[in-house]
């Protein structure tokens, strides 16, 4: 595995406990997307203006301010989710900073690797939530609202998948599926 991929995975590891529901992944995924966007834009603005010496200070301020602004927007739109997730949004700012510091001369590369994490988070959280609680939730001002609900799984589901152990197990399964799919794809392309 390349250095950037390992560092991005480690930077995002503290979010695993929060990725137990689709609604949480939607909020944290959009926060991470906005943070990466702000990081890339501020890096481009800094190099265009010629403030290369101030790059770390401005990037740090931009990411923490964006995370705080996101939390404030969350407080206005989804107040109950803001209580549960504001801590993790601030952790994301630190993750963003780590992602940008991996390769300071090639900011876009690190950010594009990190961008792959967002769809993964959504699928991962949806799988965990469905297997554990038998439902898929989205954020609402009143908290979480179920858009899909299977009462049988809700009653006899396996809450294990929502725990950190279940997350580890599921992440391993996802990596195996991805590797297997890549191997199959390369086999087919060689035969064709």
């Amino acid at each position: 595995m390349k250095k950037e991929t390992v560092v991005c995975a480690l930077a995002l590891a503290p979010l695993v406990p929060a990725m137990s529901r689709l609604s949480y992944a939607l909020v944290l995924g959009s926060a991470f997307f906005i943070l990466l966007l702000v990081g890339i834009l501020s890096a481009k603005a800094i190099s265009r203006i010629g403030l290369r010496e101030s790059h770390p200070a401005i990037l740090l301020a931009a990411l923490t301010a964006t995370a705080s602004l996101f939390v404030l927007a969350l407080r206005a739109l989804y107040p109950l989710l803001a209580v549960s997730l504001s801590f993790f949004v601030h952790i994301l700012a630190v993750s963003g900073l780590v992602v940008f510091s991996v390769s300071s001369d090639d900011t876009d590369r690190a950010a594009s690797i990190a961008l792959y994490a967002i769809p993964f988070f959504l699928v991962f959280a949806a799988a965990r939530e469905f297997l554990s609680f038998g439902m898929l939730t989205v954020p609402a001002p009143s908290g979480l609202v179920a858009i899909v609900s299977v009462p049988a799984i809700a009653e006899y589901g396996m809450p294990f998948w929502a725990t950190a152990g279940g997350a580890l197990f599921l992440a391993g399964a996802f990596v195996w599926i991805a590797k297997r799919a890549r191997r199959m794809a390369s086999l087919y392309s060689r035969r064709a």
Binding site: P17, M19, L72, A76, L80, V83, L85, L144, A154, A162
Partner: protein
């Protein structure tokens, strides 16, 4: 002033402008969202408080228990029957299945009690189903009971 000095002043000025614009944006956003946040949270937590203390229990203004720390930054004064008087604390509790929003009551004598989870979808209101077991709840109750309100010259 030579060209080099003016270039340095320009760069530092721009850096300062960037940083101060973040501060202004944050202050403005905090000012405009605070009231909306308090009102929405009060409306969401009121049914949980009233389910425990009856419909006379009312949540007042957003307050802070000084010396309680950042984990307890969201608290409401509770008025109504004698047993309801105190503070309702809205707390992020991380159970086995991730974070959830919980409401605790702290009486005037400092006794803490778990009231329930808020914002959960129908059928998942039970804390046990969300990985928040009795051990986690009693740990939070102990933590809330032991808040030293006399610290920092408070209350």
């Amino acid at each position: 002033m030579n060209a080099k000095t003016s270039d340095v002043i320009k760069k530092y000025g721009l850096t300062l402008l960037f940083l101060s614009s973040f501060v202004v944006a944050l202050a403005a956003a905090a000012f405009f969202t605070e009231r909306m946040y308090a009102q929405s949270l009060r409306d969401a937590c009121a049914p949980v408080v009233q389910a425990s203390f009856g419909p006379q229990a009312k949540l007042g203004k957003l307050s802070r228990i000084r010396g309680a720390g950042i984990a307890f930054e969201t608290a409401f004064e509770v008025s109504g029957p004698a047993r309801a008087r105190g503070t309702a604390l809205v707390v992020r509790v991380t159970g086995l299945s991730g974070p959830v929003t919980a409401v605790f009551h702290r009486s005037a004598t400092g006794q803490a009690r778990f009231l329930g989870l808020v914002g959960m979808p129908r059928g998942l209101e039970d804390p046990g189903k969300n990985g928040v077991g009795p051990v986690v709840i009693s740990a939070w109750e102990n933590r809330i009971s032991s808040i030293d309100t006399k610290k920092d010259g408070a209350q």
